[in-house]
Amino acid sequence: MKNLIYTALFSSLLLFSSCNEDEVPATMAVDISLDHIISGQPLELNGKSFTLPSGESFTPKKFKYYISNVKLTNSKTGEIYVESDSYHLISEDGNKSIDLGMIPTSNYDQITFSIGVDEIANGKTDQTGDLDPNSDMAWNWNTGYKFLILEGEFTNAKTEERQGLVMHIGTNANYKTITQSVNGLKAGKATTISLVTNLDELFVDPNSLLLSELESTTIMFGEMADKVAENYSEGFITIK
């Protein structure tokens, strides 16, 4: 159940609407869609292999992540919409959209959101909805949530053996906030904001990962996990 409250500055809008013939509706429907791509193609989890930026072949099996604390800003007027209770579990074989519902009208030109869940939500697992600890996103009862899961397999270039890649990234330091400019959000008009999540970006920029060279292909905590988080903090999710 989504429980929306609005935090926005309306004064200018109210002035406008009172002296305008074509009244702009007070609210507008906005949703967000996410496309998952890897190696320039739509992600598939059914055994298809893709080429990573390193040139290595990789077969993804599971891909899930949290998007939280979604905010829209009109940088010209300073109006801000903040989604309350804003935690969304996005997964390739589950939900790939976020419905903000009817939100206060404005010509929003920026979207801000975070990958992962914030420190407060990450400190407890007694939550419901997308934070329900019955999914495999809760680590255990003390460690909080995995922010991003990517699992798959590849053939190690050196040993020529089949190896698994287990990326489970979490911990508060790896909660990353992203702001992007958006075009086309017109006051009063229903809009879908289309985002693209590019899995290639987990493996490069600024930290290049060569799977066959990894000391361990279980990346959960520690330095490697932080490096992956640094990679997803920019260029991973962008406006289509």
């Binding site: 059914n46 255990n140 053996e161 287990v166 361990s216 279980t218």
Partner: protein
């Protein structure tokens, strides 16, 4: 502070109920809607199928059908023959026996908390409890009764037509309605009164050994960080300790067989060779009572199960990456997959697994044979 749910959650539940009641108030004479008696820490986002809402009368009928031997060709076998309450709805056999001592090729699955599952049978070939329920009646190795014959027998019975009338508003008995009634009863088979549940509700403490077992159960090991784990919770998720209910994500090849001996498993359903040797990760509630283990009942004890995961994983092309990648020691070579748990750690995991035993579930009179 284990899982104190916020107070507003209660309100949400109440609101949910109120709105349901409103919708279904209209046909006053119809069956009485009931809701599942599930704890608030089970997933809350699974709706009842709109075309098979849970009713008192539907559950009552389903329970009778579950224990009805007329639904087998020679009148000797019911659903409950292979799904016995005192064994958490399993039968203790490697493979189950049907009529004429016919023998199947899979281990009878335990029935509990099924409302939160999405795929049924070890190979996931059915998507609903309603459609699943018909198959064992018709299967030659199980109850061996053509479904039309089952319908005819129930129609000819003195009591069933009125029970169907009460449950579904029609005396017309159909295979679909048989499936619906059986599904309703099976949804009520909720196991949520184990020691683990009492611990979740903050009513008891676990012993240090059980607590260690719980930690290990839910941890994927990482030897670099000296993080020790039994790697169980990667596939047996959350409070239900059951497989992932999204798509086929809850199906895994858990290293039972070598490439040459890999059975079809999920591939039988998807046709994708990537799914060869994958089977449903079952919920582990009452696992102490449901031996033997695995889809083919090859392991007699939990000790054997733990030994399998620790030392005897067979490598194949579809072995789950979460098993392939899991070890408590940095592997010396990649030719073998070993978890490297200590004897005490294996014991602790088994001690935790035994906290999943629910005495109330296996003695609940609501789930027992109504003909006795």
């Amino acid at each position: 502070m284990r899982f104190q749910f916020p107070a507003w959650l209660g309100l949400v539940c109440v609101c949910g109920f109120v709105s349901c009641d409103k919708i279904d108030e209209a046909p006053k004479s119809g069956p009485n809607l009931i809701s599942l008696d599930a704890p608030d820490y089970f997933p809350g986002n699974v709706a009842m199928p709109a075309d098979n809402l849970l009713t008192e009368e539907g559950v009552r009928l389903g329970r009778m059908l579950f224990y009805e031997k007329k639904l087998s060709s020679d009148g000797t076998v019911s659903c409950a023959s292979c799904h016995q309450q005192q064994k958490a709805f399993t039968d203790g056999n490697k493979f189950s026996f049907g009529v004429n001592d016919a023998i199947g090729d899979k281990n009878a699955m335990s029935l509990s908390n099924l409302h939160w599952q999405n795929r049924f049978f070890w190979d996931g070939r059915e998507t609903t409890l309603e459609s699943q329920a018909i198959q064992p009646i018709e299967d030659k190795r199980e109850m061996n009764l053509p479904i039309e014959e089952a319908v005819a027998r129930l129609k000819a019975d003195a009591t069933y037509p009125s029970l169907f009338e009460n449950a579904f508003g029609t005396e017309e008995i159909t295979p679909k309605l048989i499936g619906k009634a059986l599904a309703q009863f099976q949804r009520t088979l909720i196991s949520a009164n184990s020691k683990f549940d009492a611990w979740i509700r903050n009513e008891v403490e676990l012993s240090p050994e059980e607590e260690l077992g719980l930690e290990l159960f839910f941890t994927h090991p990482d030897p670099k960080l000296q993080l020790r784990g039994g790697n169980c919770g990667d596939c047996h998720l959350g409070f239900l300790t059951a497989g992932d209910p999204n798509g086929f994500t809850g199906f895994h090849n858990n290293g039972l067989d070598t490439e040459e001996n890999l059975p079809l498993g999920l591939m039988k359903v998807t046709g994708n060779s990537f799914d060869r040797g994958k089977f449903k990760a079952p919920g582990l509630r009452n696992i102490e009572l449901t031996a033997p283990y695995m889809h083919d009942g090859r392991f007699q004890t939990l000790e054997e199960v733990l030994d399998h995961y620790n030392d005897h994983i067979q490598i194949s092309s579809t072995l789950d990456v979460l098993i392939l990648e899991a070890s408590n020691e940095i592997p010396e070579n990649s030719e073998t997959v070993k978890l490297h748990l200590s004897e005490n750690e294996k014991k602790a995991i088994i001690a935790f697994l035994k906290t999943l035993t629910d005495q109330q579930f296996i003695t609940n009179p609501k789930f027992s044979d109504p003909f006795k």
